[in-house]
């Protein structure tokens, strides 16, 4: 064998061995990021670094899904949607692509932010808010419409904003990207993007977002204390929930719906408790479902798994099950008038 052939083979083998050793070390250490970079929607760059909960929805995919077409037949759309379209020029079904929402643990209402990507008539949206008493301003080169509740009619404002007296703002961050939230939150989003101190630097949050499989129609990741702080959650539930630290929910909508709820507890014992609670819940569900085939189908689609500190509950509702549920709903509708007549 020639010397250069030998050198080539040694060099080639060295690359493979180096890669395998790196992988092996990483495999046993469970990390070795090699300056890994964060993924997720590009809107993450506008979210605050201390975001405790982030949600994403691919509205366009859901709207065009076979699942929604089936649901439309059962659940007709409301008049509010038409009114919203008339005022803003936004057709939720066709003009919105994605929605990203985030909030923080501290004062979540004040820092809640919604980023909407799609095709908008900026002038019409501005006009609607200005008609309600809003004013235009520039903040770090970004056009904003700020509405002070004191100067506005309550009709044109979100109820929460009016009640809390917080200024509501809407900013045109990029072409086709709107930020909606309190003035503080929207300004913080503009600063987060400019400074680079945003949610992508939150390693803990990004770890969970990166674990969500590509192509999910909607997902949410959050610290559980963000939910625990919610006044809407009953105290009894809060007390009985084990020490869950992080949770993630992801769902894929096409002909059917599949999804996964994942929770990470503080330790193995807490996770085991959580798994027991879920097992008990599933057993209870089967018990009380009786002969109702719809509930039975839904419960049978739930699968619990998990080990160590994690608990995972997945579900898969196939298009056939949805058709069956739709059929049951139609049967129920048909039988209702007959009962009334009797």
């Amino acid at each position: 064998m020639h010397k250069r052939t030998r050198y080539f083979m040694v060099g080639s083998a060295a690359i493979v061995v180096l890669g395998l050793c790196t992988g092996l070390v990483a495999f046993y250490n469970g990390g070795l990021s090699l300056t890994s970079t964060s993924r997720g929607p590009s809107e993450m760059a506008y979210l605050p670094a201390d975001a405790a909960m982030v949600g994403f929805a691919n509205v366009r995919e859901v709207m065009t899904s076979e699942f929604r077409q089936k649901m439309i037949a059962v659940i007709p759309s409301g008049e509010e949607r038409d009114e919203f379209q008339r005022q803003t020029g936004i057709d939720i079904e066709y003009d919105i692509d994605t929605v990203v929402a985030a909030s923080t643990v501290v004062d979540p209402d004040k820092h809640a932010l919604v980023l909407v990507r799609g095709r908008f008539n900026d002038g019409q949206i501005e006009g609607v808010i200005r008609q309600q008493g809003g004013t235009m301003e520039q903040y770090n080169g970004v056009r904003m419409v700020v509405a002070n509740p004191a100067n506005m009619t309550p009709d044109g404002m979100p109820r929460d904003v009016v009640e809390k007296g917080e200024s509501f703002a809407l900013a045109f961050l990029e072409t086709g990207l709107l930020a909606v939230g309190s003035e503080t939150a929207v300004k913080a989003a503009i600063d987060a993007k400019a400074s680079g101190n945003n949610a992508t630097t939150n390693d803990e949050l990004m770890t969970y977002i990166n674990q969500i499989q590509t192509g999910q129609s909607a997902w949410a990741v959050g610290r559980f204390d963000a939910i625990k702080g919610s006044p809407d959650m009953p105290d009894q539930v809060k007390q009985h929930l084990p020490a869950v630290q992080w949770f993630s929910v992801s769902t894929r909508v096409n002909g059917g719906v599949t999804g996964t709820l994942r929770a990470e507890a503080a330790d193995d014992a807490s996770a085991e408790n959580l798994r027991d609670v879920v097992r008990g819940g599933l057993a209870m569900g089967r018990l009380v479902s009786g002969n109702d085939p719809r509930v039975d189908m839904l419960i049978n689609s739930l699968q619990m798994s998990g080990s160590g500190k994690t608990m995972s509950l997945s579900f898969a509702v196939s298009p056939e099950v949805i058709d069956a549920l739709k059929g049951f709903a139609e049967l129920a509708d048909q039988s209702q008038p007959r009962i009334d007549r009797q």
Partner: protein, 278 residues
């Protein structure tokens, strides 16, 4: 004084000698430039993607969701290596094992050596395998090291790398054996080989029924979902192959193809009278 009679080397020793001789020839041939381009392109692409990523570009997106490193790696292994590089390198190198010697009229020198004719084929086949594996596998490792850290962890994707390396090595071995038969038997082996991979294999995978079982791609690509790092990609593949063969079934079938075709090629070389054109 009589010279002590030297025994002919065994098949294994003879194959090893042919392997040593052929490896250098194969590695430094013009064909290797082609192979360098085929396996260098994915590395270059991975490097560009990574540099864009480090520069803060928004990256590859599907449904406005950035595709992470493991998904990009799965896609690259599937598109560049399993679907293209493996069959193409198999056809270019496999068909040339014997055909090149016939074309260059040098096969006589090999056949006049006191070694079994089968050893020529086996030694050259092993040289092909070493040559391609030593070029293709480092390329996959480099792509993996460059792409996976983009939102993925090397540790979590290590087993996928091992599986992908295994799939590519098995693919090279099986395609090499199949094309060794074509190269040993036919006069225009490259054309037949290209027609096989781009014509027959592409067509039968699209046909309904059991036609696809008469291709290597069906079994090789049937292994890929087992190694895919991302469920959504695997589901896309499974949708394409309505009934993917099982892992064990694929491996067993490919082992049979390898042994049968290599044996068949060796038999052809041992028995065939090669007429060198003047």
């Amino acid at each position: 004084m009589t010279q002590p009679q030297r025994n002919a080397p065994s098949l294994a020793t003879a194959s090893l000698r042919v392997f040593e001789m052929s490896l250098g020839e194969m590695l430094w041939s013009r064909r290797t430039i082609f192979m360098g381009l085929v396996v260098g392109l994915p590395v270059l692409m991975a490097l560009v993607i990574r540099l864009f990523d480090l520069a803060g570009a928004s990256g590859i997106r599907i449904n406005n969701m950035a595709v992470n490193g493991p998904a990009i790696f799965g896609l690259m292994v599937w598109a560049f290596f399993v679907k293209f590089s493996v069959p193409v390198l198999g056809v270019f190198y496999g068909t040339s094992l014997i055909a090149d010697e016939v074309e260059d009229k040098t096969i006589t020198y090999l056949f006049t050596r006191p070694i079994a004719r089968e050893a020529v084929l086996i030694g050259k086949y092993l040289a092909y395998l070493a040559c391609t594996i030593f070029v293709v596998l480092p390329s996959i490792v480099l792509v993996w090291l460059l792409v996976i850290p983009m939102g993925g962890s090397l540790g979590a994707n290590f087993l996928d790398l091992i599986k992908d390396l295994g799939i590519v090595a098995v693919g090279l071995a099986v395609y090499g054996a199949v094309f060794a038969v074509i190269g040993a038997y036919f006069k225009r082996p490259l054309l037949i080989g290209l027609a096989f991979i781009f014509g027959w294999e592409t067509a039968v995978l699209a046909f309904p029924g059991s036609f696809k079982m008469l291709s290597v791609a069906y079994y090789l690509q049937g292994l890929v979902p087992h190694a895919m790092p991302n469920d959504s990609f695997a589901s896309m593949m499974q949708a394409f192959f309505q009934e993917p063969p099982s892992l064990t079934g694929s491996l067993a079938t490919m082992a049979v193809i390898l042994v049968v075709f290599l044996g068949f090629a060796a038999r052809i070389v041992a028995r065939r009278e090669y007429v060198l054109e003047q």
